[in-house]
Point group: C2
Chain length 245, copies 2
């Protein structure tokens, strides 16, 4: 019998623990896993420690990230085929969503298609993209996540205008992320380029005590951007969304 690949969501920040974001059943399942595939070992070990009995060194820890995108794949496949359960985790949120973990899941599906009896089990937990969509009040029947926009304000402005047109055409909520140190500049570009009637959201530190969500029209945003609290929050991980009128 081959092993199972468990896809384990992680908290969205250090101010939440793993038991704060997973159900007791999910939390308990983690202890049976002997091999973890992680994005950043230090981050993953700190989050997983409360769920694991015994020393962390008794488990196998493999890296899968942008610096080591594929070298972990073959040893993991071997472990799974040999009957070992493997846990895949990101630094934050759901593995396979806006992170390199999808490479491993795709590789395991190839093995399954070739006859291997490996199971893939996605577990319930936090996703900043999904929490942002829920909180946006925008269209949840049709939405898209497009990741990062270009970093130059000019190119980013053009991308936002294209996304606004796409949103208008499909009645589609568009979700985007930005690195914290560029979020203020991102908001400024949105305020400069988007139509006044377009709905726009910033959602910072989702699921954490410091959570801060603003969702209103660009015209309304233009009145409130001097708000110090909004600017302060933008220095933290933030999801943005837009919906054209």
């Amino acid at each position: 019998m081959a092993g199972t690949l468990w896809l384990i969501p992680m908290p969205l920040g250090a101010s939440a623990g793993l038991s704060d974001v997973l159900s007791p059943i999910t939390f308990q399942q983690i202890d049976a896993i002997r091999c973890f595939v992680v994005e950043t070992p230090k981050v993953a070990r700190a989050f997983l420690k409360p769920a694991l009995t015994g020393a962390l060194t008794e488990r196998q820890w493999l890296e899968l990230n942008q610096h080591a995108p594929t070298q972990a794949l073959e040893p993991v496949i071997k472990s799974l085929l040999g009957g070992t359960d493997v846990g895949l985790v990101s630094d934050a949120g759901c593995p396979g969503v806006a992170d390199p973990g999808a490479l491993l899941v795709a590789r395991v599906h190839q093995e399954i298609a070739s006859g291997a009896n490996i199971k893939i089990r996605p577990l319930i937990g936090p996703s900043s993209i999904l929490l942002a969509l829920m909180a946006s009040g925008m269209n949840g029947q049709s939405f898209a996540f497009v990741g990062y926009l270009p970093s130059s304000p000019d190119e980013r402005g053009k991308a936002l205008i294209r996304l606004q047109a796409r949103s208008a055409k499909n009645r589609e909520t568009i979700l985007m992320i930005e690195t914290p140190y560029r979020s203020k500049s991102f908001l400024q570009t949105a305020l400069n380029h988007l139509a006044g009637s377009t709905q726009f959201m910033s959602a910072s530190q989702l699921s954490l005590p410091e959570e801060h969500i603003v969702s209103c029209s660009i015209s309304q945003w233009r009145k409130i951007t001097v708000d110090k609290r909004v600017l302060q929050q933008l220095a933290e991980p933030t999801v943005f969304a837009l919906l054209a009128a």
Copy 2:
């Protein structure tokens, strides 16, 4: 002080309880809520009962669904402005995602933009769309949910071909849902119209004991569709996904 609108995810089927899918902190928060806005009262009460002390009749229950899309909104706004905490729930999964709940969230954002001190708090829990994306092994850096496709096989086939072209252009994973009684016909249309190299997934009964996930190329699908287990699973709630090669 105005109340908080809590967005509470529900289990994805009757074989999971609320405490199986929410963290203990989230589960405990629910008991403080005095007013619930629900899609189907019977379904919501059955799921919420274990989290609530005292009789269910001590809480206020309002309906927000396709038959009563907006009449619940004004009493809820009044309750929130008066300081009452309100819980918004769908029949399954996350409120505001592929359900009518987004109408209420949007209405509350309008009040906030006009100066009301209402808070919106999305809670962590199950979403079949997100679990399907995690388990797909497809692109998690760029994805879209497009809801239901047309029910006529001809129109659905054309829609799938358009979505495949869009997926190829944007390297975008496309997620779709179908009602259980049409899922077999949906799969047949996909096998008839999509390119052999396109990746295609069906993910049924996600997060439940009967979970069943198949993700491989259309060519590989064409070899396995006689599998009885796959056809049986398709009679249950299923998320489909595609990614063009």
